[in-house]
Each structure stands twice: as structure tokens, then as C-alpha cells.
Symmetry: C2
Subunit: 331 residues, 2 copies
Amino acid sequence: MSPGSEHAARGGIDLGGTKIQTIVVDADNKILGQSRRPTPTEGGPEDVAKEIEAALREATAQAGLETRELAGVGVGSPGDADEATGVVSDARNLPGWIGPFPLGEQLSGQFGVPVRVGNDVQVAVQGEFELGAAKEFDTILGVWWGTGVGGGLILDGKPWLGRGAAAEIGHVVVKMGGARCTCGRKGCMEAYAGRMAMEIRARKEVQNGAKTDLFRIMEERGRDRLTSGVWERALRHGDDLATRLMDRAVKALGAGVASCVNVIDPEAVIIGGGLGVRMGERYVRRIAARMHPHLFMDDRPPEIRLAGLGDLGGAIGAALLVDARVPTPAT
Amino acid sequence: MSPGSEHAARGGIDLGGTKIQTIVVDADNKILGQSRRPTPTEGGPEDVAKEIEAALREATAQAGLETRELAGVGVGSPGDADEATGVVSDARNLPGWIGPFPLGEQLSGQFGVPVRVGNDVQVAVQGEFELGAAKEFDTILGVWWGTGVGGGLILDGKPWLGRGAAAEIGHVVVKMGGARCTCGRKGCMEAYAGRMAMEIRARKEVQNGAKTDLFRIMEERGRDRLTSGVWERALRHGDDLATRLMDRAVKALGAGVASCVNVIDPEAVIIGGGLGVRMGERYVRRIAARMHPHLFMDDRPPEIRLAGLGDLGGAIGAALLVDARVPTPAT
């Protein structure tokens, strides 16, 4: 590998509540190395930063590089990630991470190269915009359907962050006085469609006597959570409760995403996230059908597409944080 | 009046379902003349254009000018107004105006000066942004509460129109499977908060035996509609039905506008429109209180303010369409 291409390589990190996915890409965003580690469930931000380091070192080694040879590293982070300072706070899916922690600074010290931190969903949506399913559009809404329902907006080619918390589409109200959301509010789209909320509801219904294979499948797979794979399997077998809760989720996504479309009027809606990618094209069509009755301009709905970068999309989008901001050193 | 200031004068027209409000302003947006006429309830677009002409000629005469001396005229129009072409279609509050009509071209021929056409709510919001309650902000959401609930977005100082139909906030879903909206859809914010929908609901409840003074007040005032003034009077007298329907409207506005804030994260929300301006500051506070439980960033809500330009705001905002686009001829 020539010194030139070494210097153009960048790291990308998708920091999730379950796993840390890292990649190393070249100047053309071709993947040179990748590694995945479980996110620590105990400890605090420093422990998470250590696992991130280990995972990225593995990916970098796979690429035949050392981390200090990277042009930089981008991180897509949950919680409240400040792009300007690299500080992350209120990351409730991560252990002991309520207060602010200077993740960018910490990792930059560990790796010896610049580190940029962005919102996990926003960087994944940026990845789809630059390299994935939304390449030909200027204005898109990303709907990241997973543990929660996150969003990302790109307007006229640029990320729209508002005052830092735009596109919190999971907390669009779809039913006044409706279901309790994991955020504590009532009637949020996420209270019906987020995987966490769906699991809470499933457990409650089972307590009340409902029959389902969801938890048997979960145990067979050695999980302690209703993962996307567990939902998919239960649905494939025609499980009643799973079918009913998924129908409810799709209906809420239809109403909530249509509301967002009525506000933004984007060219395209991209459906991603763990559950979105797992459920695939058929569910993209189902969500589109449920959106349609609520679209103000129903004669010209936006394009509705599945995210194209798959599982690595978050890490690829994170690596783009570097591309956009750090000039590749001359060799 | 010197020839220079004559040339800098501009016309502004607020074309509503009930009235046509016209103004003439100088280069500093000082009002030189104004006239108001009822919107024709019969005929078609040409008849409306004739009334617009008569009203603007009155305002221009009051300013001591003739229309051909204006630098240009801006129109805020209901329906689907195409800023690029000046064509207006689907203006359902206007008589016989479903198909496209070249309003800009028609009026330009009548007045002998350039005419720009914009969306009525968007131009009113632009007026508040440049001259009214939102002067110190860059990113605002305008909530125009009247016959329906319209919206206008300004992001980083520029109107955000999406593909031409952004900010249709009245049709954000606040209750899946909820009340039937005048647009035919279910559960829209406007189905609870639009004055038209509130009147339909009031009539239905009276048919079902509810007691109210709303329709007595309406008749006393010689109206055939529950105008903002009728609602205000009934509420002042503690009318049960009016109070209940207004509480329901405020609750829906709280949920729906909070949803929009969660998507856009604006610095400020401006409440305007016929009902908004009439109900005033106290209702702005009530709406803010109802928004708060649904705001994702509830520790830093946006500023929520009443529109500052009052009844003439729409026409003033329309006149700004000219300011922004037509250079004032040298004298």
C-alpha cells in the first residue's frame, strides 16, 4: 500500500447500545477493514472508549495500517452529540453516560488523529445521501427504525440540525393521550413503533394472558431482548401477538412519517435502522401504504426507499464526517 | 411626493376567503394607503382579479399614486400558489377556482407593473420574520390559526418550501383514527383546531342537543359563520360548548405544533392567523403550555410569540415579495 492511499484512509465508528461497529475505508470509501464488538453494559464512558479503541485497532490492523496513519476518525454517537466540540451527553443506551463526556477529545488522544463526532442517525442518513439509496436527491428524511425511531434531515444537500435536536421524529405525537413512550411522554410515534416500546407492550400483554412465541424464540436464540431477528422469525411463523404489534407499529409509522412529510415536503424518505433494514422492502411498501392516507400532497408522494448501505451504513456515514472536514494530507 | 419615492412604493395584497386586503407601502414599509373589499362568493378567478384590482386602485389612490407608478405588487394567495410562474390552482376558499389560473400575469396586465404571487401563510410569516415578532430569529415556524391551520417555515433566514408544499402543518396527524378533517383525512390537527372544523363540530353537537350561545351571537352580529369574534364573545360569556371546543383546539395545537418543533427545532414559533391574532397573548401561553409535555427538548423550548403585524400582516408580507426580487428602478 502506497503512503498516499494510507493517508487517505479514514476510520468510521457506529456506536450503538448493543454493538460497536468499526470500519476503515479508503479515499473511495472502499472498506479496507472492519471489526465489531459488543458495547459494554457496565462501567462508564471511559470503558466504552476503550472498547471503541480496541475495535478500531482491529479494523485498522485488518487494513494493514496503524490508527495514527488514518486521516481521521468519525464517530456516530447516540445521545446528545455536539458536532462542534465532540462532547456527548445523555446517552441513555450506554452505561453510566448521562453527564457530558468529551468523546472526540478522548478518542483523538487514544488514536493520535483528529476525531469528529456526530449524531448516529444523522451520520447514517448522510451515508445514504452520499453513497446509498438517496444519491440522486437533494432533500431527504431518514427514518431510522430500531430500538427507538430516530430521524435525520438533509435539506438542499445539507444536514439540518436546527438548534442541535432537529428530526426527533420518534417523538412526533401520533395519538393525543395515547400509549406511554419510553421517553415518559404520551402518544409518541416511538411508543408504538420503537422496538423497545414494542417489547414492553409484548411483555405486558403476556402478563395479561396473551399467547406468543416471541419470548420462546428469544430464549432459543440466547437473547434477553426481542431483537429484530426475533420479531422477524415470529412474524414469519404467523405469531398473533407479533403480527398485531407490528401492524400497530406500521400504522404509527405511517401517520408519524406522513406528518413529517407534510411539514418538510422532502423528495424522498429513506427507511433504515436495525428493524427497518431487517424487515426490508416489503415493510417499506407497507409503511408507504399507511402514510398515503395522511399525505397532504397525496398525488405526488415522496420516493420511499429502503436504506442501501445495510448494517455498515452507520460506520460508513461516520467515516464521511472526516471526509467532509479534514483535508487529506499531501504525501 | 418626489418621483424617487413614488417608484419605491409597492403594493401588497392579502387574498383571503372572506376579504381582499390591499396596501401600498413606501421603501421603509410605511403604509401609504389601504383598502379592503369582500372576496366575491360567486363567479370565478377573473371576478376575483377584478375585485383585487378595484381594491388596490383604492389603496394606491389613497397614497396619491397610480398603480403603474408602483415598483411592483405582491400577492399572498390561498391554494397552490406557484411563486415561479404566478399561477394559482386549487384555491378552494375562492369561487370557481379549482383549476390553474395565471393570477400574476392577469394582475400584471391590469396594473402595468410586475406582480409576484406567493403562498398566503408563507408571505405573512415572512412579514413577521422581517418586520414583526420574529425579527431577531433566523429559524422560525409560523402557525397560522384561522379557518384552517396553515404554516410557514423560515430556516436560516430563507423560506423553506420543500417541493412547494412544505409546512402543511394543519395536516400533521395528532390522533390516529381521530376526527374527520375538512380535507377528508382523519386525525389532522386542523380537524380539531381549524375554525371551519370547529364550526362543523359545534353544529353537529347542537343537532345532538348541546346548548350554546354561539349561533345566537352569530345571528346578532349578522354573520352566517362562526367568526373569530363570535368565538371570542361566547368564550368571554363562559359558553360551555365554546369553551369545550376551544380547549380541544388548544390541546390539538399543543400536540401538533410540538410535533413540528421536534422535527424542525426552530428558535421561535409565531402564532398568527385570524383566530390566533383575535385570541391573543393568553392563548399563545395556553398553546405553549399544551406543547410543553410533547417537546423532546423540554428544557429549552422555542420562543412562542404572537404575530406582531396584526390584520395587515398578510398584505405587508405580500408587499415584501416585491422588495426581495424586483430592483427599485433608478430615478
